[in-house]
């Protein structure tokens, strides 16, 4: 079935390091997305018309544009427009952060407006200052709702980074193709085994994270 090819020589290590490239890019992008997303999400709840209009357009762009298209625009379009060279890795980080920030901002906004107004009013009536209201009442609740959702964003980010292969970064799928090509003669059925292995690797990378997210969501439900 072609599974033996995976463990031949350094093939398995190469596949893992390919996955490592994808994971590294997603970790960097997630970190940027979460930081920027929290700021933008909070800005969105301020109800300033200009900010609202800008963020609405931003969210709608991200909502309807496939990440692949954004990747192409940054990787090919930006280079053509400015005449400078943007590495594939940097452009993928830019695109995934652009996309992730919008997702995160939407989550933050959703959590912020899900806190009933009555809680702000009650805190005020109890004599808490604005800062105290946020520290003791609002933020603990938001964090509990937000953490499972942002963990979910990480798995989505990992899945999306499989696209970087299309702009020429050597990650796990590309390595898989190389291994299959190199063993075309000796193991003609390698394609099945190697792609099945990639499938499983992605599953093993994402599944525990989704489980953690589900577990935390249940645990903090009330």
């Amino acid at each position: 079935m072609g599974f033996e090819v995976i463990f031949k020589g350094k093939n398995f290590i190469r596949l893992l390091s390919g996955l490592g490239v994808a994971l590294r890019i997603s970790v960097i992008s997630v970190a940027i997305s979460i930081a920027l997303g929290i700021v933008i999400g909070m800005l969105m709840t301020l109800k300033k018309p200009v900010i609202n209009a800008v963020t609405r357009v931003y969210l709608e762009i991200v909502r309807i544009m496939p990440q692949m298209v954004l990747l192409f625009i940054v990787f090919f379009g930006f280079t053509k427009m400015t005449g400078s060279n943007l590495s594939a890795e940097l452009s993928s980080i830019i695109v995934f952060s652009f996309w992730g920030t919008a997702e995160m901002a939407d989550l933050v906004r959703g959590c912020m407006i899900s806190i009933p107004v009555i809680q702000y009013e009650s805190s005020k009536a109890l004599g808490l200052t604005r800062l105290q209201t946020y520290i003791y009442v609002i933020i603990p609740q938001i964090v509990r709702r937000l953490i499972p959702l942002s963990i979910n964003l990480i798995t989505r980010m990992i899945k999306t980074t499989s696209l970087i292969m299309m702009i020429g970064i050597v990650e796990v799928l590309k390595v898989a193709q190389q291994i299959i090509e190199a063993n075309r003669k000796s193991a003609p059925k390698a394609a099945f085994g190697v792609f099945a292995a990639v499938f499983l690797l992605y599953f093993l990378a994402c599944w525990p994270i989704s489980c953690l997210s589900k577990y935390l969501e249940k645990k903090w439900e009330n």
Partner: protein, 219 residues
């Protein structure tokens, strides 16, 4: 940007657009059917089938479409199962979408409190009436936002079809950039056609969500 270049590219992009839309919606239809069947299997807790469905959902929700397509299109032929690129696109999108749809529909079904089922049965409703009049209308309302989000997500995912050499929008754009180096024109048309494909769906989705919201009971 060169107007003439854009005009000469439009027919190419139109063909690619039609192909993308066709495969996208066929895949979504398959995903929806699969989602309904799997969600009911989970809801009624049918033994064995339930475990199979759960494994399928977890497996496909936690892997990217690109990897799934590579496995179906390049992996399976090595063991004697080969299918055309178009069928592969529909099947791949259908399988991925099916797992997402299952979750959305199931969460809708499970959100109906057991007391409503019990009350309906104690009022003398048959199982058919219970489903038709009590569970489905409410479950559908709850599932709609999830289903709409899934449809948009799946239409966006069609952009990876170029990896299995389907002549879709991405493939055409990449091809034209490689052949004639008219990067800006190709990218411009790519964006325009994706907007044509997705903006109406996005707006319609928001509209439908607003439309069905009033049906919620006690909320």
């Amino acid at each position: 940007m060169d107007q003439e270049v854009i005009n000469s590219y439009i027919p190419l992009f139109k063909d690619a657009f039609l192909l993308t839309v066709k495969i996208g919606w066929l895949g979504i239809a398959l995903a929806f059917l699969l989602g309904i069947v799997c969600a009911f299997i989970l809801y009624f807790k049918i033994p064995v089938a339930k475990t199979v469905v759960r494994c399928y959902v977890e497996l496909f929700r936690n892997t990217p479409l690109l990897v799934q397509l590579f496995f179906i299109y390049y992996g399976l032929p090595a063991v004697g199962i080969s299918i055309s690129a178009e069928v592969c696109g529909v099947v791949g999108l259908g399988l991925l979408g099916g797992s997402y749809m299952t979750e959305s529909i199931r969460s809708g079904l499970e959100a109906i409190p057991v007391i409503q089922t019990e009350s309906a049965l104690s009022l003398g409703m048959t199982n058919g009436q219970l489903f038709k009049n009590v569970i489905l209308p409410q479950a559908f309302t709850i599932s709609v936002p999830g289903i709409v989000a899934n449809v948009i997500f799946l239409l966006k995912e069609t952009s990876v079809f170029s990896a299995i050499s389907l002549m879709d929008l991405m493939f055409t754009a990449k091809d034209l950039i490689g052949l004639y180096y008219n990067t800006m024109e190709s990218l411009f048309l790519l964006v325009i056609f994706y907007v044509i494909m997705l903006l109406p769906v996005s707006l319609a989705g928001t509209f439908i969500e607003k439309k069905v919201r009033f049906k919620m009971f006690g909320d």
